[in-house]
Amino acid sequence: MKKQLLDNASDTSLDRVDGAVKVTGTATYSAEYLVPGLVHAVLVTSTIAKGSITAIESREAEAVPGVLAVISHLNAITVPGWPERKQPAERVPVGTALRVFYDPLIYFDGQPVAMVVAGTREQAVHAASLVRVTYQQETHQTHFEKNIGKAGVALNVQRSKNSPFQDYQRGEAAKSENTEVRIEAEYTIPTQHHQPLEPHAIIAVWEADDKLTVYDKNQGVKSAQGQLAQAFKLPRENVQVISKYIGGAFGSGIRVWPHTMAAVMAAKQLKRPVKLVLGREQMFTSVGYRPYTVQKINIGATKDGRLIGIVHEGTGQTSMYEEHLERTVLASRTLYACPHVATRYRLLPLDVNTPTWMRGPGDATGMFALESAMDELAFALKMDPLEFRLKNYAESDPERNLPWSAKSLRECYELGAEKFRWNNRMQAPRSVTQNGLLMGYGMASSLYGFHRHPSKVRAVIQADGSVIVQSATMDIGPGTGTAMTRIAAKVLGVNAKKIRFELGHSALPDAPGQNGSATIPSVGSAVHVACEALKTRLVALAREMSERFKSGGQVVVRNGQVYGSVDDKDGVSYADILKYHHLNELEVTEESKSGAERDQYSMYSFGCHFVEVLVSPLTGEVRVTRVVTCADVGAIINYKTARSQSIGGVVGGIGMALMEHSEMDHRFGRYVTTDFAGYHIPVHADIPPIEVYYIDKPDVHVNPIGSKGLGEIAIVGVAAAIANAVFHATGKRVRELPITPDKLV
């Protein structure tokens, strides 16, 4: 393991700053806070996909010892931020988040219809099983293919001319249809769920009538604070959201979901702190998912492999009450130098809950189609897939006609191919066997847009020279605190052990939620800027102490000391500086955000994946046996945690390609794969050695730390690389994920 890190850089990585508390079980997750007087809530969810509740029989449940209340639309409190209930109830206009316990209307199977609150979770679970709900059922539509005719341009897009999801065209749309070599194919990805191992959980505490604290699993304490304050018409500062440790999320925690509101409402109604933990099966209908998406690609090239045209159409499912849009078709405009490109994106509303972003949102879906189609075209051209991509390398952004802020995708291809020994690949599919198994090589590119949001950071140095850095950012797993500590340590010249990074609390300085791979680029920059400011203040104070530090640009900091120059043997410690000036602490708060560079450059992370698979010709079982992944994300902050991110992305991609599939019985509009026996994610035995490489060149145009996002790009393209390897092994092209034995046998 260690060796692999060292292949690419001398390993001075920090270990995870929260590693010890996590592995020893002392990290407190949302459901684990000990709050006096806590009571337990369990949701009852609908068993029909469309209709309305006609009756809720709760007497039996209420009679269970310990039960405090059975809450539903019949008796729930009024949420001040919601419009008054209509009589009779009316279906909401598109764009309205689901209001829990608001009216009797059912929008999807699994919708919360009631909630039992009791002294213990066991009492609540038992009582919840006794609540009888009767419905007036209406015909539901959940089947994608059967309803595809109803797909259309999202209302949101119709209303906004500048939406990136508008139909797009450059050159002549139909060009790809008349090219010498052409592929036209349809690709399907099924609904897939994030299913982090920690289920979503919340403890809601009303400290006073107008003061709310929630311990909630989410990916953005600030946005949760804002949404709760708005719903309950409270000043922002009266709501505190705490979310310090998170057992994975992958996008499932970006919104405030109905179950969160339900717990907050119950706590208000009962004047007791309420804990709600979703059951695994409830996770399938409560916190979003990667939407079922069908894509058509028409792609053509000249005989010698120059891309002429790409037409990429995608349709994703959404709910009846909200429009979930994602970047499904956008990569086709950017990734390759191609003169004629058209993209179209449509939504299909169904009687299901609203999808949401899931790791590599849109791009993971879209790149499965684009990079499979590129592979199909390379095969038709009798060209090596990598050579084909290099031939169509985009030297500048063909969509926006702007230079890249930085792009080392070519270096990624070269490094990846060398480490993988791609040159050994035979061009013909189904031509290599090993111990009776078919062997195949596949590759795919990866890209993900750069995101940076305004972020504030507070940096404090204390009398003993230790440093506290704070921001309301999050850590859903990547090791945010570790990376931020690294940045602060480097700028301040302080040993990482003396730095404490605090996150996951809404009272901390403003920061975006953790999504869109924006945390390092945004908050990392703010940490850098704040620590620079703190350093400047410390140096200024040092100057007042001695002539030695007056020498203009010569002053340096290291080991928690200020030195007059690099060669200076004697420095003055930060602690002594504070002591000399009679300061208990020294504090700065800084904001960092992007500027005019956004309009001058096109900014993306890039990467590629190389995959080897073995496929059983008799049983159709696919095993990934080797992966090399290589990314160009600007400067790498901390190799060890970055590498874990990349490995996690590949593992997610293996799941996406080979296993993950939320299957619905459309007669009932209900998922039937609602546990880990039915919804497969990879286990250790499915994961081969994964080699990770980075180009590690700072992108000087994006931000002060030269670093772009890594979280999403790690998964984008992996499914295509695997599907391409399966084709190479078997000669069989699977265009519908997941690639299970039934599709190959």
Binding site: H126, T619, L658, A677, P682
Partner: protein
């Protein structure tokens, strides 16, 4: 979870008497299946009789058979020397099941009596004849990719209404069905010995019953009769991921070979029927013949003639056939 009474008998007689007067009482061993079923509201026993203190853990070879106590752990059976040397097929099948952690809790008795993983069985909101007789079979016309392709005895006869398309989930039971196994049970009416082939049931009638165990009966042991298959047996499990998944199809093959010919052959299939599916005619078809891929292909296809695919599992016809060929080849030692 419904409130229940928890009891801890010290003797077999005490355990049986605790269960005798209460049809809603359940024995609990490792709990890896029963507790899940209780959490999902599928089993709601009034009484849990914890049998872990009964003297039923022994694994021993006596006279002509291997006797394995009902409370022997799956992991211990799989590594026991007598099992590995005399019945390697059983060891392989056990190791193909679940995960290391689960095998450390799961017992032989519990494994025999584990219930199907059909998702309609698991969801109280959906119809299921096994869970609620007469409510219909959700898998019929539903999602049935993992469901049965063999139904009534010997594969003839149709699928009856009020029936069940689920498959038996156990790997161990597939191996035990291939070879000669006796299930030893004790109950209010004393000890009984049931042939493995008669222990689990097909689903044509009363699919709510997985086994022919009587009310209150306790499994005390299984006995696997000595055989000459140790050198040429193989358990092949085809699944959606490399480990920790139930079989799409599995094959337990046991051959007795001498002088390049097959003299006795047993084969049972998992993941294809309401109980492990024994291929009864295979012995006649292989006896006296030299192994070859072509022979195995013919033999496999012969059995598949009596299979019947549902809407979602047509692939199982070819997969089962291929899996039989692959397993037979490995067992016979030909490539």
């Amino acid at each position: 979870m419904k409130p229940f009474q928890y009891l801890r008998p010290k003797t077999i007689a005490e355990a049986i008497s605790m269960a005798a007067d209460d049809p809603e009482a359940r024995y609990i061993a490792g709990g890896t299946n029963l507790v899940d079923l209780m959490k999902r509201g599928i089993a709601s026993p009034t009484k849990l009789i914890d049998i872990n203190h009964l003297p039923l853990k022994k694994i021993e070879h006596r006279y002509d058979r291997l006797r394995i106590g009902a409370l022997a752990l799956n992991s211990e059976v799989a590594k026991h020397k007598a099992v590995v040397t005399r019945q390697p097929l059983l060891a392989q099948a056990l190791l193909a099941g679940a995960s290391g952690q689960l095998r450390n809790m799961a017992t032989v008795g519990g494994n025999l009596l584990q219930r199907t993983r059909c998702s309609y069985f698991y969801d109280l909101a959906l119809p299921c004849n096994k869970r609620k007789p007469g409510s219909g079979c959700g898998a019929e016309g539903g999602i049935n990719r993992t469901h049965a392709i063999f139904f009534a005895g010997n594969g003839f006869g149709g699928i009856e209404k009020s029936s069940c398309l689920a498959v038996h989930p156990s790997d161990m039971c597939v191996a035990l069905t291939a070879v000669d196994t006796v299930v030893v049970v004790n109950g209010p009416d004393g000890e009984r010995r049931i042939q493995m082939k008669d222990f689990l049931r097909l689903s044509t009638q009363q699919p709510e019953l997985d086994t022919n165990l009587g009310p209150g009966e306790l499994v005390t042991a299984i006995e696997v009769l000595d055989n000459a298959f140790a050198k040429h047996s193989h358990y092949l499990k085809v699944r959606d991921r490399a480990s920790y998944a139930f079989a799409l199809v599995s094959v337990a093959v046991a051959l007795q070979m001498d002088g390049g010919r097959i003299w006795d052959a047993r084969l049972a299939l998992g993941g294809v029927a309401h109980k492990p599916w024994r291929y009864w005619a295979i012995d006649l078809m292989l006896r006296g013949k030299a192994p070859s891929e072509q022979l195995f292909r013919e033999v496999a296809e012969h059995e598949m003639e009596s299979a019947k695919a549902l809407e979602g599992n047509a692939y199982k016809i070819k997969l089962t056939s291929n899996a039989m060929v692959a397993a037979l080849k490995t067992a016979a030692g030909i490539s």
